[in-house]
C-alpha cells in the first residue's frame, strides 16, 4: 500500500492548467524530492496533492483513500501537513503559540509533541516567548516545520524549505529533515538545492512544463547526465 499516489493529475489556478499529467507515488517513511526548472509546476504539483490547487482531471489518494480536491483542513486531519515556501509563520504570535496553532485540531494533551519539536530545534525553546516575526529566516523555517509536525503527520510536504537561507542553515535544515524522516515521517519536498536534496532522497521526480520527465532513485538521478546538465549545473 502506497502512502501517497497521484495519478495523471491535470489542473491549475483559474481556467488554465499548469499540470499536464503529473503522476507520483511514495511509500510510508520515504523521502521523495520534486526537482525541475522554474515554471515546471513543482510547487503546483505539491499543492494539488494538498487540495490547494484544483485537480481538473486525475486522482490523488492518501493511505488508500481518495482525497482528490478535498479541502486542506480535512486533509490535515488525515495526517498530511504542509509547509508553504513563504509566509509560513504567524508573525505576531509567539513561537510557542505558532506551535499551538499547528495542534489546533488536537483535543488531547500535546505538550510531549511540543517538547519533541523543541528537542529537534533547540533555538526555538529559548525563543518560545518571542513573536515569530522577530526571528531570523532560518529560525522562522524551524518554526514553520515545527508547526507542521504538531499533528505528528505521516506525510510532511515541504515547499523549498531552504530557499533564501544561508549555507549554514541549509545544512542544518536538511539534517533535521533527515531526523524527522528517521522517526517515520514521509517527506515530499520541492527543492532548488537539487544536489543535496536528491542526495538524501529515496526517489526523485523531475518535472518539466507540468509533466513527468524522469523518475528514479535519488542516486541515479544525480548520476544521470541529462538531469545533471538540466538542473545541477553540469
Amino acid at each position: 500500500m502506497s502512502l501517497l499516489l497521484a495519478e495523471d493529475v491535470y489542473g491549475g489556478y483559474g481556467g488554465t492548467d499548469i499540470l499536464h499529467g503529473v503522476s507520483m507515488e511514495m511509500d510510508a517513511g520515504e523521502i521523495v524530492v520534486i526537482v525541475g526548472p522554474n515554471g515546471a509546476g513543482k510547487s503546483t504539483a505539491m499543492k494539488s496533492v494538498f487540495g490547494l490547487v484544483h485537480v481538473r482531471e486525475g486522482r490523488v489518494r492518501f493511505q488508500d483513500e481518495d482525497i482528490t480536491n478535498e479541502a486542506p483542513d480535512r486533509i490535515v486531519a488525515r495526517g498530511m501537513c504542509y509547509v508553504p515556501q513563504e509566509h509560513n509563520v504567524f508573525p505576531s504570535l509567539t513561537v510557542h503559540e505558532n506551535l499551538e496553532m499547528g495542534a489546533f485540531i488536537r483535543t488531547d494533551d500535546y505538550t510531549a509533541q511540543i517538547d519533541r519539536v523543541y528537542d529537534l530545534f533547540p533555538p526555538l525553546k529559548e525563543k518560545r516567548r518571542q513573536p515569530a516575526g522577530t526571528l531570523s529566516g532560518g529560525q522562522r523555517q524551524m518554526v514553520a516545520i515545527g508547526r507542521a509536525l504538531m499533528l505528528d503527520p505521516k506525510l510532511l510536504l515541504l515547499d523549498e524549505p531552504t530557499a533564501g537561507l544561508s549555507p549554514k542553515f541549509i545544512d542544518l535544515i536538511f539534517q533535521r529533515i533527515r531526523e524527522i524522516n528517521d522517526q517515520g515521517v514521509g517527506i515530499l519536498m520541492v527543492e532548488q538545492n537539487a544536489k543535496q536534496a536528491l542526495g538524501m532522497a529515496d526517489r526523485g521526480y523531475v518535472l518539466v512544463l507540468g509533466r513527468n520527465r524522469h523518475e528514479d532513485t535519488g542516486r541515479n538521478l544525480l548520476d544521470d547526465p541529462e538531469v545533471a546538465e538540466m538542473f545541477l549545473g553540469g
Partner: protein
Amino acid sequence: MIDIVQLLIYGIVLGSIIALGAIGVSLIFGILRFAHFAHGDLMTLGAYFALVGVAGMNLPMFFAFLLAIAATAAVSIGIDRVLYRRLRRSHPIILLISSVGVALMLRSLVQMIWGPDNKIYQAGVQMPWIVGGLRFKPDWVMIVGGAAALMILLHLFLQRTRLGKAMRAMSDNADLARVSGIDTEKVVIWTWLIAGVLAAAAGIFLGMDTRLHPIMGWKLLLPVFAAAIFGGIGKPYGAIVGALIIGIAQEMSTLVISPAYKPAVAFALMVLMLIWRPTGLFRGKVL
C-alpha cells in the same frame, strides 16, 4: 486648569465608548479584510434593544444590558450568515458597499420600530457628584468601568484561549491558518459575536451618556474608524489607544474651537496619522 481636567474626564468617557466600536471594526478588518460600515448602526440597534429591556420589560439596567448584547451578537452573526458569508470571495469593496446597505437597513428598521424621536433609558436628572470642583456623573463610572472590564475580557480571550489565539493567527495569515487545520468559519462567527457584543455595549453606553436616536451610532462611525485606523487597523490594542487619544482630543479641542468641529478633529488626527505612518500606531494592515 480644572476645565482641562474636566475635559480629560469627558474625553476618557467618550474614548471608552469609541474604543468598544473601534475594537470591533479592527477585529473584523483583521479577519475578513473589509471596512464594516454597518458598525455604527449595530451600536444603535444594541442601544434600542436595551431600551426594550429597561422600558418595555422593566428589567434592571444590568439585565437589559446582558439581553441587548446577546441579541445584538445574534443579529451580527445572522447578518454574516445571510449576507457577508456569500460574499466571502468577492472583492473587499463589494463587502464594504454591502455593509453600507446593511447600515441603511438597520437604521430604517430602528426608525420603523421605535420612531425618529429621542428616547432615554431613565427619566429624571441624574445629580452629578462634585469632587474638588470636578463633575462626575454616576453613569460614567459604569461606562468606563464596563468598557474596561470588556476590554480585559477580550484581552484574556485573545491571549489565553485556543480560539482567541486562532483569531490572532487568522488575522496574521488566513491562508496559513487554513492549512494548519484551523476552522476559519468558526473563527469568523466568534469575530462577529465579539464585535456584536462590543458594538451593543458602545451603543448602550452612548445612550446612557446622552440619549437614544436612530442616527446615534452612524454619527459615531467617523471617530470609530478614525480610532481603528489611528491605532493600526487589524490591531485591537491599537484601537483602544487610538480611541482614547481621539476621544480626549475631541473634548480638548472645545477649548479652542467650536464643539461643532469635534468630528473634524477625529478626521484630522486620522489624516495626520496616515501621512506620518500609514500603518497606524501599532503597525496594522495597510488599507
